[in-house]
Assembly symmetry: C2
Homo-oligomer: 285 residues x 2
């Protein structure tokens, strides 16, 4: 069994981004990400720490704009509008879902497509749906594609079973895999016989968000498993959608949790921020 670790992928992406950042700085451009966080949910804070660490190591600017958990829709929209207009900011990430009294409609519908580095808005979603390679994808979906690419996993004609149909991962990654010539089956909570859909796959992308739901009985020896899940089990231990301990020995290769997809996401965010700055300077890149 090969462990498909995220670190090597993230290092590779970060190294390319760092070179680009140096080139941009030499001509007076400082790529910058704006993170908008409402409240202080532990998950958001953990992701934020990961982002800040990654961006600092690569010499890329990242500023966090924090609003109180009880802020008004107007405060949120104004905070967002200022970042959306600011020419010194190349990417905007808003931690979602927002607290229940707020909605992200204004943000999603008005975000500058060039700053929409997590593909919240209609422009990038439509481009992604159409299979355009220049579109930004949700960072986690792109992280899955980067892992497959880095480890030279050919997709053409392969059967891929995706578990989960969310807008941040299941649906976009299904479309991206289809564009990459895989034969994709999209499974979800209403799928009648998930185990057989899993067993017949060459590659499994698990993005259900249900701790250890994929077990030893669902897999075959030749399979490659990408585990996007990231939950805390009843003992507070981080785990994925796959019962790693029992499944890993049975398959060809698998991403660990933590240390798999999650480790790549912030490097995609970095590369997208840099790509946005480059597009602004050089046009299409």
């Amino acid at each position: 069994m090969t462990e498909l670790r995220g670190k090597a992928v993230a290092d590779h992406i970060t190294s390319i981004a760092s070179d680009d950042i140096a080139k941009l700085k030499a001509i007076g451009i400082n790529p910058k990400l704006a993170v908008i966080r409402v409240g202080a949910k532990p998950d958001d804070l953990a992701y934020e720490r990961g982002i800040l660490k990654r961006f600092e190591a690569a010499g890329c600017k990242c500023e966090v704009f924090e609003l109180s958990a009880t802020c008004s829709q107007k405060e949120l929209d104004e905070c967002f509008d200022a970042r959306n207009k600011d020419d010194m900011i190349h990417g905007i990430l808003v931690f979602r879902p927002l607290p229940k009294h707020l909605n992200d409609e204004h943000i999603r519908s008005t975000i500058n497509p060039r700053k929409d580095i997590d593909a919240m808005g209609p422009y990038n979603q439509a481009e992604l749906f159409a299979g355009k390679k220049e579109a930004y994808a949700p960072c986690t979906a792109q992280a899955v594609m980067e892992i497959l690419k880095f480890y030279n996993i050919d997709l053409t004609g392969k059967r891929v079973t995706v578990v989960g149909r969310s807008m941040v991962i299941g649906k976009p990654v299904s479309i991206m895999l289809t564009s990459a010539n895989a034969t994709v089956t999209i499974c979800h909570t209403k799928t009648a016989d998930l185990s057989s859909e899993l067993k017949r796959a060459d590659i499994i992308v698990a993005a259900a968000g249900r701790p250890r739901m994929i077990t030893a009985g669902d897999v075959r020896p030749e399979q490659i498993i990408i585990d996007v899940g990231m939950s805390a089990d009843q003992n507070g231990k981080l785990c994925g959608d796959v019962d790693y301990e029992n499944v890993a020995p049975l398959v060809d290769s698998i991403t660990p949790v933590p240390g798999g997809v999650g480790a790549v996401t912030t490097s995609v965010l970095l590369s997208y921020t840099v790509a946005s700055a480059k597009k602004k300077v050089y046009g299409k890149v």
Copy 2:
């Protein structure tokens, strides 16, 4: 074997639309579709005749704006802009693909989402991708869903194999079927073993555009087949993606070609034009 004829579906949709048109006319609103046609390709003319007949029968206005096959980009864009701004027009259909010297970028990116009744633009595509029921879908994709609904074909937990990944049918219908709780496999020219993907399906949606590519060896007795294909064979006879003559006797039910999906598309266009006029009057409907 049951033949899933489109006429009954189209009549049902048209009858509801006709009632709505009468109500709208009573308050002085005349729903109207603008069709923009560049050149005079036989396929476009055939579709146009079908539209005009359907709209006339339902008492709905439809105006065709014809441009020469050699018109300039500026002429096309101006023709489009005028319809896009005209408050008396509720839906716009542009026959695509356009001649090679023209592109539809301006049209797709600026169409008023409320007039985008064939889901060319990013707003409706993104909404569709997100599974929003109010979004307009490409008319043919919606026609498939209408047939399944009319004939009470339950989708929850069903295995659906979609053949084709185009932006006008394969991809949108796959997402719509997924939103309707089916377990969808998207197949295409790079799929390794199409026959086995077809055989395991409960429902097949054939949208490859390859005449009679699905043959008797690809199907099972319990299956339901929706054939979106519409080609002329070597003798000039209209046929679908399914070898109807040999497949129909073997399966549970199947749409004929012609007289299946194609017969429903213009009624969807009518219902969308009416929905757009209603939205303008009543807000969300």
